[in-house]
Amino acid sequence: MPLSRRNFMVTAVQASVSMLTLLAPRWVLAADRRPAFDATAIDAALQALGLPPPQDTAEILFKAPEIAENGAAVPVEVESRLPNTRAMLLLVEKNPHVLSARFEFPAGTEPFFATRVKMAETSRIHAIALTDSGNFYTTRLVKVTLGGCGG
């Protein structure tokens, strides 16, 4: 079949799309990361983000209360001491949707964040640092006396 103008255009567009994919950073593009927020298990969330299982580390400082009276707002503060931490993930193991947040630190921004999460029940919270030399995690167990995902 001769290469019609239409076919040529289709091929050109397909080629540009694959080029864009090649040029994209090694992380999944922002829009493609949304499905990870629907994941109901940690390994599924990581898989949706195209990440291998992280290694345990003591180099992530993680402040969270041991007991949270109110699961509707549990304060967490996380700081990575791992060099070249580009992004961090916050996951609550027993929440209906485990992935709470992904934070990105451009050059000049400290690999630090503080926020408040909802917790459906007593659960481990995982903080994962995405660095140039791999992905690392640490966890904290937070006991919840009053669940927060209902309201």
């Binding site: 949304r34 509707a72 707002a73 949707h97 947040a101 990105e104 921004t109």
Partner: protein, 103 residues
């Protein structure tokens, strides 16, 4: 129109510490109203911070960030008097930007 964000940005040495309180319902889509009907999910999906035309922070959130989110982060390379702008976009397509001056 949602209420403005409360943003405080303070220069400590070389580092700017930003603290923000953001008015948003952050509905999970799991909660039922008084009639037993599910309240649809409605939450902030992305939040970015820019300073001097440079993106200094980016957050992507799920529904499990607490209602009226609190957020703190730290970055370098700005002076007192510089402006920082925070912008969020939610699952309903609404967005809001607010600005603060670094003290």
């Amino acid at each position: 129109m949602p209420d403005p964000m409360l943003i405080r940005a303070v220069l400590k040495g070389e580092t700017v510490e930003v603290k923000a309180l953001i008015a948003h319902v952050m509905e999970t889509g799991q909660r039922k109203d008084a009639d037993g009907k599910l309240v649809p999910a409605h939450y902030i999906e992305t939040l970015t911070a820019t300073c001097g035309g440079r993106q200094v922070f980016r957050a992507e959130w799920g529904a499990s960030i607490a209602r009226n989110p609190y957020l703190s982060f730290r970055f370098k390379g700005a002076q007192a008097g510089d402006k920082i702008t925070l912008t969020w976009t939610d699952t309903a397509g609404a967005s809001r930007s607010d600005e603060a001056t670094i003290r």
